[in-house]
Symmetry: C2
Subunit: 217 residues, 2 copies
Amino acid sequence: MESGPAIETTTPSARQQAVLDAVLGLMVEAGDQLTMDAVARRASCSKETLYKWFRDRDGLLTATVQWQASRVRAGRFEARALDVATLSESLRDFATTWLEVISSSASIALNRIAIGDAASRKSNLGSIVLANGRFAIGDRLKPLLEAGREAGLLAFDDSETAFRTFFGLVGRDVQIRLLLGDAIDFDAATIRRDAASAVEQFLALYGQPQRQQLPLR
Amino acid sequence: MESGPAIETTTPSARQQAVLDAVLGLMVEAGDQLTMDAVARRASCSKETLYKWFRDRDGLLTATVQWQASRVRAGRFEARALDVATLSESLRDFATTWLEVISSSASIALNRIAIGDAASRKSNLGSIVLANGRFAIGDRLKPLLEAGREAGLLAFDDSETAFRTFFGLVGRDVQIRLLLGDAIDFDAATIRRDAASAVEQFLALYGQPQRQQLPLR
DNA sequence: TAAGAGCCGAACCGTACGGTACGGTACGGC
DNA sequence: GCCGTACCGTACCGTACGGTTCGGCTCTTA
């Protein structure tokens, strides 16, 4: 279960995407009763079609996870002239996006399903979610961190460790609380504020003092 | 869903405790097939007894969660003379204990059940787990943080915020990865090392410089 | 317009599981 | 010795759900 590239598969047809969206909608609204009957009813298709297209329930869930993952891909980092302002700006973007993702009802529902699935070792939704979530963002963020180190803005030995610290500072207790059903009000303003302070803390830990630059804040 | 004191209930009889331990064992070994039949078989009791004692499946799960929580209570903080050494020592203890808990197979199984349960709004295992996990440790740690501030060792406005940072630095991506089935090898040495570096980072962020004390590290 | 593919809707099957009922046994009080 | 209580083991019931089958509709292609 190493990082690895996000799993790539044949993109589903438009009709199939509609079905997968129905699954997502159902997950969000009623995470339990996610039955094949309910999916068929909601997507206005027959169960036969579901089984033909996705083999079985597991295949449907897997396809749904990958479908959702495929649309979360956002804001890959572009290497460019890096100063401390653009670096922390980029970090803030990452943190904001990440918090928005993990607090979205789709992500919560998906992670719940995958975690429930990880209990029974039948399928591997868990690893798919991990690959497209935690590890995908790690793969996207680490180049930025290393560019920051290259530019003398950051100091760390291991980018993986640095990333995990960043992950912790940003996520804190949010994900576990949401997964367990705690109703945090997590509006856009809060997210932006939390992201900014996480980045500030991260830079306090890993930032390299800029000598010729002017004083503290 | 506020912090609140850990829920207290009548302690189960010895025989009932044996049943609850059977549930825990079953959760750990085969988190899925946690059926009433399996519990009865494993505990060598009849289903009728299970239903008499615990009302229904939810009651059994709830009792199990509380039973497990009741034995995790450990190392409450004792107010005493506080210098930077004893403070960071205590923080390391907290962090170590916490990492041990969340990486234990019992905790993983329990959280998986509670998360799966939080999806269907039928029961409130999620809030019970939260109250006895994340919030219980918060309630135990905050007095220590405030004592540290009192002693001039720490600087923060809101102990809740400070705690959440601590929580993130310690936990990082560990819990979500374990819940999703990632097989991290998380032995005692790793835990101790991770706990120590988390505390070091926390003190770097919230520690108050000690004037009369001698130099950097 | 005939043949066929693709799909919908509904009926159906087998099984697993939550919950109940009941017969049988051990034990403590009278 | 007899009764009540508590419990075990097992059979049983109802239902929910994954998966299959089938009749019929629509649309394409020739």
